[in-house]
């Protein structure tokens, strides 16, 4: 809850974005869907959280009071700090998804789950579930489009009904969802057959075409990240405002 700490974090995230080579415009674009929410949240915090929070080591000062609306230095700080935190969070998550392919993330998850296989977590199988689901999303998306066109050509009512008729809305959705599920199951059955025909016995003893190895850069990134987090946590009380 400090301006200085958040300014540092903001600078570091911006530095990371510049380092990654992803264009800033792209990252800011990811901020757009969240903007209305950030603004509404900020207004609510500004107006109603005046008494809830006083800045660390400072006396509470009232800037404005009218009825139950109460704006203090605490609520102003709360607004700025939580907006900054939100921006940092969104920047970091979109940085991950913009720099790492889904297959790489899956391989990473598989490697991370590996130590847990000793305790009964089927790491390879779980990673395979992830790969299959990511692989099936575009296929099923195409299928969904076909189904929607097919239903529309049969005269399915896709027009918006009133919200009160939500049971018939659910039936409408079911007209698209049910064929989608059935198609997915059918494709799944084919895949099961294909895997069984090729004697799939799980991940043990399998070699992998893609082998991820830790490079010096990875250790460096981990090290810097860890040191930075520990410093920020440890020096928490040294940021006065």
């Amino acid at each position: 809850m400090s301006y200085v700490a958040n300014a540092i974090l903001l600078l570091v995230t911006l530095g990371l974005v510049l380092l990654s080579g992803v264009s800033l415009k792209y990252i800011f674009f990811g901020l757009k869907p969240a903007l209305p929410l950030i603004i509404v949240l900020a207004i609510l915090q500004l107006l109603f959280y005046g008494d809830a929070f006083t800045p660390h080591g400072m006396a509470s000062r009232t800037y404005f009071r009218w009825g139950w609306i109460h704006i203090t230095n605490g609520s102003v700080q709360l607004v700025i700090v939580s907006a900054a935190r939100f921006v940092e969070l969104l920047f970091l998550t979109s940085l991950l998804t913009n720099t790492t392919t889904l297959t790489d993330i899956t391989h990473g998850i598989e490697d991370m789950l590996k130590p847990f296989s000793r305790f009964g977590v089927p790491a390879n199988e779980l990673a395979l579930v992830g790969t299959i689901s990511l692989r099936f999303v575009p296929l099923l998306g195409e299928q969904l489009e076909t189904i929607m066109k097919a239903q529309a050509s049969r005269g399915a009512n896709v027009a918006h009904k009133s919200k009160l008729e939500f049971v018939s809305r659910a039936r409408q959705v079911a007209a698209f969802i049910v064929p989608l599920f059935v198609d997915a199951f059918r494709r799944g059955e084919d895949l099961i057959l294909a895997m069984q025909a090729r004697c799939y016995v799980g991940g043990r003893g399998r070699s992998s075409f893609v082998r991820l190895r830790f490079q010096r850069m990875d250790y460096l990134a981990y090290g810097v990240g860890l040191v930075f987090s520990v410093l920020m946590l440890g020096l928490q009380s040294y940021f006065p405002f």
Partner: protein
């Protein structure tokens, strides 16, 4: 779900295993969950303040009902992960709210289905959908209250206005899908329970 896989090497007993069927069904149903989230097809407008009832948890319920609690648990975990990644609301940027409560959707759905199945399969499907949906609503709101995002009174209101339409919608879709699939499976081209 027994399958006749030719095992080239005797698997050790302590090695965790998931059958090919479980892996594939979990993967495919998770894909539907992700697709429903991306296309906004997973949100049905309802007349309450919340505006939308989600049906994104329905694949988890169906997976639990059809392939057991492990598959249901995996799909609901992926649903949680996806809603955590996609979240724009601070409430769901908290993994303790977005992921942890969701794990149990498919698990409770399976056990309630298994319990009632012997009496009436149709009723069992409706009950599984209701229990799975309420697991989602109640656990998420409980966690939100415990983590201090919501006052208990607000949580109860949201639970009632949000939970009840979701139960109705989820039950309709679960029954429709499972009945349709069982119809295909028996090759009759029509539903048979």
């Amino acid at each position: 779900m027994d399958e006749s896989v030719v095992v080239t090497r005797e698997p050790r007993l302590d090695e965790p295993r998931l059958s090919v069927r479980s892996i594939v069904v979990a993967g495919v149903l998770s894909a539907i969950t992700i697709l429903m989230g991306w296309t906004r097809l997973g949100f049905v407008p309802v007349p309450t303040a919340a505006g939308n009832a989600t049906i994104m948890h329905v694949p988890a319920i169906i997976g639990g009902v059809m392939e057991g609690w492990i598959v249901g648990g995996i799909i609901s975990t992926i649903f949680g992960l996806f809603s955590f990644i996609q979240a724009t609301v601070p409430l769901f940027k908290d993994p303790l709210i977005a992921i942890l409560p969701r794990i149990f959707i498919g698990i409770t759905a399976y056990f309630s289905y298994a319990g009632v199945k012997r009496i009436n399969e149709y009723a069992a499907l409706v009950i599984a959908a209701a229990v799975g949906t309420l697991t989602n609503t109640i656990l998420v709101l409980t966690m939100a209250t415990l983590r201090g995002y919501m006052a208990p009174g607000v949580a109860v209101t949201v639970g009632i206005t949000h939970g009840l339409p979701e139960v109705v919608v989820a039950a309709i879709i679960t029954v429709a899908v499972v009945v349709a699939w069982k119809g295909v499976e028996t090759g009759r081209g029509e539903a048979k329970m």
